[in-house]
């Protein structure tokens, strides 16, 4: 009998830190392989020329000036929610309630526009919208934070459930404020008086949102990396016990950070209602509260990298829509391609963190 020990075909070990160019090399090749797989699937399933399909994806974001603005606007909104959940994530507090917190903000903003339009001047309505929607978002995050800090409840489940409460609440108010009666639609609020509509900067509909979110992005970067709060968040995230030992009041940090998280989500809701949509629907946030989790993770909770990751997701989403239009394919096909690309990108992180040793290679080393 052969007594030599059978070593496995391959084994996996953790890598040390990779130099940046190697890490990006792996990411780049992942995207490349993803595109090739997408191309093969496109030609097999639809018979379309994959290069034309890729061109259409590109065109979805850069085809016209308007499309480019819409791209920027969508990046801004996604980035805003992603930035919002980031401080909580850095603290290892999984705030999955971005959707609900943004909806709470949107609801507050719409409420001001509808209930105060005949009693207050425009500037006062806008000021109240800003205050109430940021507060509403903060409260929506503050409730689960309070329970976590006091009784150590699970914030993941709690924030998730708060999403459903917010969605139903918005659905309820859509019926209260519907026009015409029974239609469940609010339509554009104050279409003629424009009360509560944020001002437009020159001819650029979306510039205000983009500028505000850019400010928030820089602010968040500084807050997380150069402020005492940011440091406390990092320590609590690493180890709550260490934090307690060095005298950080963990409960306070949790509540404070979640309030900030919710407030920024509320801001996203405010911008959606006051600045672009001027209406309220239960799906006005469009799942950004969940997509934000992916944006934040992919960027490793770095606010500046998040610009890139939210660009990637919005770019793919817009491309999916363009494919649907240009090739009379279902929107779902674009989503399939997006899924493939994300699969490879997320998978590439594995190869950055771990190394695979094959049997043959191992022997030489031994």
């Amino acid at each position: 009998m052969n007594k030599t020990q059978q070593s496995p075909l391959f084994h996996i070990s953790k890598r040390g830190a990779l130099p940046w160019y190697k890490a990006w090399g792996i990411r780049g090749s992942a995207v490349l392989i993803a595109l090739i797989v997408c191309g093969i699937i496109t030609s097999l399933v639809t018979g379309e020329n994959p290069f034309l399909v890729f061109a259409a994806i590109f065109e979805g974001s850069f085809g016209t000036t308007r499309k480019f603005w819409v791209l920027l606007q969508n990046i801004a909104m996604l980035l805003c929610v992603s930035l919002a959940v980031t401080p909580a994530f850095r603290m290892r507090c999984w705030n999955l309630g971005g959707e609900g917190q943004a909806l709470a903000g949107a609801l507050a903003a719409a409420a001001c526009m509808i209930c105060l339009r005949s009693s207050l001047p425009n500037w006062a309505v806008i000021l109240l919208m800003i205050v109430t929607s940021i507060l509403a978002g903060a409260i929506w995050a503050g409730i689960p934070a309070f329970f976590k800090a006091k009784w150590n409840t699970n914030e993941t489940l709690f924030t998730l459930m708060m999403n459903y409460v917010a969605t139903q609440l918005v659905a309820y108010y859509c019926v209260v404020w519907e026009s015409p009666k029974g239609s469940g639609q609010i339509g554009i609020i104050n279409p003629n008086t424009h009360i509560g509509w944020f001002p437009q900067i020159g001819p650029y509909k979306y510039l205000l949102n983009i500028l505000i979110v850019a400010l928030v992005c820089v602010g968040m970067y500084i807050y997380l990396n150069y402020s005492k709060h940011g440091y406390e968040i990092a320590v609590v995230g690493e180890s709550e016990r260490t934090a307690r030992y060095v005298g950080i009041k963990v409960d306070r940090v949790i509540i404070r950070t979640m309030l900030l998280s919710g407030a920024l989500c509320g801001l996203a809701g405010l911008l959606l209602v006051g600045s672009t949509n001027h209406t309220l629907t239960p799906n006005i946030v469009e799942g950004r509260g969940f997509t934000a989790v992916m944006v934040a993770w992919l960027a490793k909770f770095n606010p500046i990298w998040m610009i890139l990751t939210s660009f990637l997701l919005v770019f793919l989403g817009r491309g999916a829509g363009e494919i649907a239009t240009n090739f009379s394919l279902n929107q779902s096909f674009g989503d399939i391609l997006t899924g493939i690309i994300l699969f490879f990108i997320i998978g590439s992180e594995f190869f950055i963190n771990y190394e695979i040793h094959f049997r043959g290679a191992g022997k030489k080393e031994g």
Partner: protein
């Protein structure tokens, strides 16, 4: 803590500063003005179009869902039929955008279509309307045509139009088929006359849906006098689960024939698995539900699109509203499923259909229904939709409710006796 407050304050200041640039608020809304009705039903003969005229148009379409929704599928099919019938090519001369939500995305989609060179843009869902109006204001040279909307005649925009069809007549015919089925069940002894209860799954409780189910019920009761009906709402245009649950609820309440005004296959497939006959909407379900599907009515949007595209090509005036009728072939019934329908249904449908066309039968004839035990002699409907729900237009004309006469979209929103709205 201080820093968070400071951060929030900065944000508030930024926004407040921006807000200061705003003009003084506009004066409060005044009393409701009166509007001219401009509702037309003339079809357009596309054979009169020359090739050069057709070349002048590029058409864009905005759909709420994709072809999985029966309503959108019907609209998508019509778009292709109308455009390809004129020799227009998809992607070049006409563009379809599916899955556009009822929000800012609708405005963006409309604007992108204009950028792509479209001079006529259609949207298919009720909630698209205010965003189409927003686009119509910005692009006065492009015609915006919105199906099922209510605001064209009061919006004051020459390039914004609404359209609908007298689908209540189609639903009335569907009701006749359902009533015949009830009669058959009574005759066979499967149910007593008192148990002749219909069920209806509606999307939203407003005029478009109410007008539809009332017409269906009146059609059924015209042949089965003991018929009653229960209605449940899903508050969504497309929700397979809720529509299925609605069907189960109605069947459990003793409804023996079902119909619906919602856009998924949720209810029909449930009816098929439970063997409950149903009348469908938007298109035939005979292929999927061969044992329970009776008949279906749908709006044929092709004549509407021909009117809009044809008149744009000829640079002619477009009316604020356009209402398709049975005469313009805008209201059509699918093939009757003889396997399920009661014997004699085809003949009866042909007879009622002719009577509707000639005007002898009026769907909302006030002698055929009561409200709170009394006949309806006068009713002021909210025809000018300004978001204020003010009844503004007397709609009982010559002993019938004047449906889709003043504007294209339905305005019949009366709860009549015999129909029970459950879970409210």
């Amino acid at each position: 803590m201080k820093k968070i407050i400071a951060l929030l304050m900065v944000l508030v200041m930024v926004c407040a500063l921006a807000a200061c640039g705003q003009k003084a608020p506009a004066p409060a809304e005044q009393a409701e003005p009166t509007f001219e009705f401009d509702n037309d039903s003339t079809p357009f003969d596309v054979s009169t179009l020359s090739e050069d005229e057709v070349k002048k148009v590029k058409v864009g379409f905005i759909f709420l869902h994709d072809e999985n929704s029966t309503y959108d599928l019907n609209f998508i099919n019509a778009a292709r039929e109308a455009c390809e019938g004129l020799g227009l090519k998809e992607g070049q001369d006409f563009i379809l955008k599916t899955g556009i939500p009822e929000g800012q995305e609708c405005y963006d989609a409309a604007a992108e279509l204009v950028d792509a060179g479209c001079n006529i843009v259609f949207a298919d869902s009720f909630g698209h309307e205010s965003f189409m109006i927003q686009a119509a204001k910005e692009f006065p040279k492009v015609e915006f045509c919105h199906a099922t909307g209510t605001q064209a005649h009061s919006a004051g925009l020459p390039n914004f139009h609404n359209a609908f069809a007298t689908i209540f007549e189609g639903r009335y015919l569907g009701g006749v088929a359902a009533g015949m089925k009830l009669n058959e069940m009574i005759e066979k002894g499967q149910i007593t006359a008192e148990q002749a209860k219909l069920g209806y799954i509606g999307a939203y409780p407003y005029a478009e849906v109410k007008s539809g189910y009332t017409a269906f019920f009146l059609g059924a009761r015209s042949v089965c006098p003991s018929a009653t009906m229960e209605v449940t709402f899903t508050n969504s245009w497309y929700d397979p689960t809720l529509e299925k649950e609605g069907a189960i609820k109605l069947i459990n309440n003793g409804c023996v024939v079902l119909s619906e005004h919602a856009d998924s296959m949720g209810a029909p497939t449930e009816c098929e698995s439970r063997g409950v006959p149903f009348v469908f909407y938007n298109g035939s379900a005979e292929a999927d539900c061969p044992n329970t599907f009776i008949v279906s009515s749908r709006i044929n949007w092709v004549p509407f699109m021909q009117v809009m595209i044809g008149n744009v090509a000829k640079a002619q005036h477009l009316h604020a509203d356009w209402t398709g009728t049975m005469a313009t072939d805008s209201v059509v019934l699918s093939d009757l499923n003889e396997k399920v329908a009661a014997p004699g249904t085809a003949e009866k449908l042909a007879e009622v259909s002719a009577s509707l066309r000639s005007g002898t039968t009026k769907v909302f004839d006030t002698s055929t229904f009561t409200v709170g035990g009394k006949p309806l002699t006068t009713y002021s409907a909210d025809v000018n939709d300004l978001g204020t729900f003010t009844p503004d237009t007397e709609s009982i004309v010559n002993g019938a409710f004047a449906e889709s006469v003043f504007r294209s979209a339905p305005s019949f929103d009366v709860d009549i006796d015999g129909i029970t709205i459950i879970d409210q």
